[in-house]
Subunit: 225 residues, 2 copies
Amino acid sequence: MLAIMSDPGSAHQFDSVFHRTERRRSQPSLTRERIVEGTIALLDRDGARALTMRKVATELGVHATSLYWYVKRREDLVDLAVDGILAEAAADLPAPDAPWDTAIRETARRYYAALTAHTWAAEFAGSRPLIGPNAVTLGRRIVNALHGLGDEEQQAVAIRAVSNQIIGAATSAVAMQTTKAHASHEHEAVMDTAVSEPDGLAVEHTYFDKALDLILEGITARHDA
Amino acid sequence: MLAIMSDPGSAHQFDSVFHRTERRRSQPSLTRERIVEGTIALLDRDGARALTMRKVATELGVHATSLYWYVKRREDLVDLAVDGILAEAAADLPAPDAPWDTAIRETARRYYAALTAHTWAAEFAGSRPLIGPNAVTLGRRIVNALHGLGDEEQQAVAIRAVSNQIIGAATSAVAMQTTKAHASHEHEAVMDTAVSEPDGLAVEHTYFDKALDLILEGITARHDA
DNA sequence: ACCTGAACACCGTTCAAGT
DNA sequence: ACCTGAACACCGTTCAAGT
């Protein structure tokens, strides 16, 4: 969830990996960074269901219990991995002086693209609060873009409309994708839309842009009034 | 995901509980209906993490392995439970001749309310395709409401904008809620927004209405042009 | 047709012990 | 400070056996 970005202070009240500092020595065989890389590699290769402490450990050539020196629980791996792939999106954001609507379009697009590029990320994003540093960076860019458009409440509404669109679109696109993947596997004669739409994710991506435009038009209409 | 509702045909290609007919005899001690009720009761009481085959079985006074006569896998329980709580929303929908915008507002509102009333439902909805009968009923009501507003593509865009808003808002609201719950447990001095906002879900509910209005204004603006 | 019971191959997590 | 190894209390699922 992105809503926290309108209220960054409350993030400090929540026990999350991102608030716990990492313990480390001079030459450890493990690092939180290495763990995150291994987790992402595993997830990209074998999917969300493959995320177990034991498999991540095997991926890194250590024992499962070693991971607990660096993270507190399995969910931490999820949170770190999701925020990890958001790094792609959080780097290279639109310039601060960009027009508000193109700033939102660009940021939202990158956010959505990162989540759908790693299907597991979209799956997890629906059930975990998105309060990692990269998620916060992305959220702030949207907040800044809307700053000055209407009063505070109008901004809060616009922020939620955009955020919800990103999360909702990403999870829906991925769920639809995996649905069709199942279908193709289980029926040999594939005569459904999976054929007429060779790349469902690409189609959804353009729908995402257009749905976002709808929201931006709504904001504009309200702002001009 | 709701996107399937714009393409009901493809649902038949996917191996889901909803396509498998139930086996039953005259007086079985178990029923798919009883199982769903027990699952929902368990989830409402103990939360999403408590959903295990063994606990559901205990809830119903049978052995875990007995459940496999009625469902194929654990995920089936998730899908059935989520669609189960959507029954509240799918019953008593706005009349077919209601104005399109109030029809959408009412339907979306009920959909969102059902998902947030059972926090586990919102959590699961983000990672499972919403293709149960009640989800389909709700989706169809939205599709029907938009029928005739613009060409087919404009309708598809509007459908996605509304659907994504429902899913995104529900998952965000619930994630935020649980975040704050954690905070209250782990810090004795609760001086964050959880205090100034005694009922976060209620606040989010009114934000949901307003964000949805933004989308409806976008649709109107486009339609009038 | 329905339900049990044993069994298999896993899980996450704790914790004492090693270095 | 970091990592191992054993151990605990779970999991989902299959399948032969009962009725």
